[in-house]
């Protein structure tokens, strides 16, 4: 779940970690009631500052994805399937925005991009 955390990225580490957990929750890899790793374990495993893990967990708590039970760990909250679907849609939107920004930078016009996407989709279904 936490592969390829990149300390050199301009996205702060806590946001990267929170993002990975959000994806895991949206995809159902982390189910309601599942325990997240303890701050201490995850800090040691990823070799990042424990405060960074704490910040990621607090952000997820503010967003309503997890519940921090003091001294007892952090758990994924009961989420409606609608919430998971909305989160997936939000992630899809982010992916597309990133793709469009990259295309603009490289100078690929939108219709060529659309063609490439349809080509890739066609290649997968046939």
């Amino acid at each position: 779940m936490f592969d390829r955390i990149d300390p050199r990225s301009p996205t702060p580490l806590y946001a990267q970690i929170a993002g990975r957990i959000r994806v895991a929750i949206a995809s159902g890899e982390l189910r309601s009631g599942a325990a997240l790793p303890s701050v201490r374990d995850l800090a040691g495993r990823l070799r990042v500052n424990p405060a960074t893990i704490g910040q990621a967990y607090r952000e997820l708590e503010t967003e309503g994805f997890v519940e921090i039970r003091h001294g007892a760990g952090t758990y994924v909250r009961e989420l409606t399937s609608g919430r998971r679907t909305r989160e997936r849609a939000r992630q899809a939107k982010t992916l597309v925005e990133r793709l469009l920004a990259d295309a603009r930078r490289v100078g690929v016009p939108i219709d060529e991009l659309r063609e490439a996407i349809e080509g890739a989709l066609g290649a997968r279904t046939t």
Partner: protein, 298 residues
């Protein structure tokens, strides 16, 4: 107490050549504070001042709320220190070294020391002098952790070690920090390692402080900009302009600090346009900071 180390206007000049000038550094409680700088920039000297091993000619050093060097004994009981070079007796076994060290620290945690021996896969019966470089480094960090201090001062603890040993040492260190809430002051050349674990950064060069800032602020504020049509002479800028050089045509590359996206309108104000904002990682930022620090009029 909000800071675990306060260095205020410290001046230290051991001889004719090198000096530390007007050094002020503030390490917040609970932080992992990375201390970067090229060789000979004064990192080890600063650490030795913090530990009372050297005495400043001017200025004030407070560690864990007490004065250095006056309260050195009291402070050092609470500080775990890993020097750049191992200084332990090579003719003692690892376990003898542990027993020796334990005698100095009332807070010594023997169980933790045993657990770390195990975790680091160290043979307690082996002579220290017979250990590999990585094993020696592990013994050094073990001593600092088992002492159960409130502050760890580490002088390039993983320099020159292989990645596996570095990983083991950092994992043990971070585990300790999350358990004890201790602060860490760590000097290193390994910018990527610092970038991963630290929440504060200070950069030294030639005995002076270049910058001190929270990691995120330093990273999010240091950018490379592509600017076109900028006049040669500029007035005041809302950001710090570290460097400016021609790219292609009228386009230039600028390196700036303290950047915020809201500052973009500055460019239309001077009749220029901002083409692109490029993120820098800590290493690029570090190199640019040093370059502009060295080029400044002194």
């Amino acid at each position: 107490m909000t800071n675990v180390i306060d260095i205020d206007n410290v001046h230290y000049r051991p001889g004719k050549g090198f000096e530390l000038r007007d050094l002020s550094i503030h390490v917040p409680a609970g932080s992992i504070y990375g201390f970067l700088g090229p060789n000979g920039s004064g990192k080890t000297t600063t650490i030795r001042l913090v530990l009372g091993l050297l005495r400043a000619q001017r200025g004030r050093i407070t560690v864990l709320g007490d004065q250095m060097p006056g309260d050195a004994t009291k402070i050092l009981a609470r500080v775990g220190y890993v020097p750049e070079q191992p200084h332990l007796d090579p003719t003692l076994t690892v376990r003898e070294i542990l027993r020796f060290q334990a005698a100095f620290y009332p807070t010594w945690d023997g169980r933790r020391a045993e657990q770390l021996l195990d975790q680091f896969q160290l043979d307690g019966e082996r002579l220290f002098g017979r250990l590999s470089k990585g094993q020696k480094a592990k013994v050094m960090i073990l001593l600092a952790l088992a002492q159960q201090g409130d502050l760890l001062v580490l002088d390039e603890p993983t320099d020159g070690l292989d990645p596996v040993v570095r990983r083991d040492i950092l994992a043990a260190l971070l585990e300790y920090v999350s358990q004890r809430g201790a602060a860490v002051f760590i000097s290193s050349h390994l910018v990527h390692e610092i970038e991963r674990i630290c929440d504060w950064i200070a950069v030294m060069d030639d005995g002076r402080l270049v910058t001190e800032a929270p990691m995120e602020q330093l990273k999010s504020g240091t950018k490379r900009l592509r600017v076109s049509g900028a006049p040669a002479a500029l007035g005041a800028t809302p950001f710090a302009l570290f460097n400016r050089e021609p790219a292609t045509g009228t386009t230039e590359t600028w390196v700036v600090g303290h950047w915020k996206p809201e500052m973009a309108p500055f460019f239309s104000g001077i009749g220029a346009s901002l083409e692109e904002v490029i993120d820098l990682d800590l290493e690029d930022g570090f190199v640019e900071l040093l370059r502009s620090f060295r080029a400044r009029p002194s």
